[in-house]
Symmetry: C2
Subunit: 174 residues, 2 copies
Amino acid sequence: MPGANGAPASKAAQGSQATQDSQAEQDDLLLEQQLCFALTVASRSVVGAYKPVLDRLGLTHPQYLVMLCLWEASPRSVRDISEALAQEPATISPLLRRLETAGFITRQRMEGNERTLEVRLTPRGAALREQATEVPGIMMARLGLTREQVRQLHASMMDLIAATRPRTDDPPRR
Amino acid sequence: MPGANGAPASKAAQGSQATQDSQAEQDDLLLEQQLCFALTVASRSVVGAYKPVLDRLGLTHPQYLVMLCLWEASPRSVRDISEALAQEPATISPLLRRLETAGFITRQRMEGNERTLEVRLTPRGAALREQATEVPGIMMARLGLTREQVRQLHASMMDLIAATRPRTDDPPRR
DNA sequence: CGCTAATCATTAGTGCACTAATCATTCGAA
DNA sequence: TTCGAATGATTAGTGCACTAATGATTAGCG
């Protein structure tokens, strides 16, 4: 457990009225209470916990997410996948190349529109879904979470994601 | 509104209703309800929201975390920092090299123990803290979160991190 | 003592994730 | 119909994060 050390070293709150708030602001830079820090550590930790499980499928975690994506709909474009995963096409592109090398997908240009790439499950990629059905249950058990707790945390994360979206008074793109 | 839910571990409604659970398991592979997915997106989104703010300080987000670390205690070893940030020394090493190039820290071997590196704030690095004090407030406002919501979410993340730690019946390393 | 084992940091190599630039194709308006 | 703009994917370049291997130094035991 990192950071059981730092002594907060309370500073004298300035003579103003809101002693409580001043104190809180005083500590705003303490590493141990940064939400962004807890969030990144949680993300890395949870993804790390998936690793031994996904290793058995021959997938990394980002690759697993792409496969989830394709198990829901099979011929999909790069842009489609990138939007579903909230990532740049430039991130997805090399990832798909590795999944093709692994034999889980094929990549070919769409006939009638040569700009678009059709990403399609191979039989082997489709079959992998059978093994993958176990994953969520294994992970819930490994993390000691109930389905309800997962639902709650998921909702919190979605709220947080929504909070990071640009304000609605911005240029209405599209 | 964004964090109005982050309720702590609510009780597990252990439903013995097979129909309910079967349906739930049926949907376990839906991308849109994966906690790990929401978590990684939330992490990337929040870190991304910091970018314009940290750009003004000349820091990336991981570099910001290192600086938070050093503002709490100035001569620290690489291992010390890596444990505080829950990251590998191999990740911290090149990061520190960039912070040195930027002029925020110095790196020199400890006298009396040449294995250990002393990472120390430069005056410029120490002075940067003044500008950084604004960051948490700006980010809370930008995300539309109250101090209490931040505290709740932080607690949820810490619980999740704790859940990923190996069982206590494992070999007592160290 | 002296040599082995442990500790600390770095480098090498892989994979993600982003921005910016590039290339090909297709759309659309003059 | 033709040419410029838009679209779709990839490549280049930077930075993070991990594991494994390496090198350097110290600790500690026989």
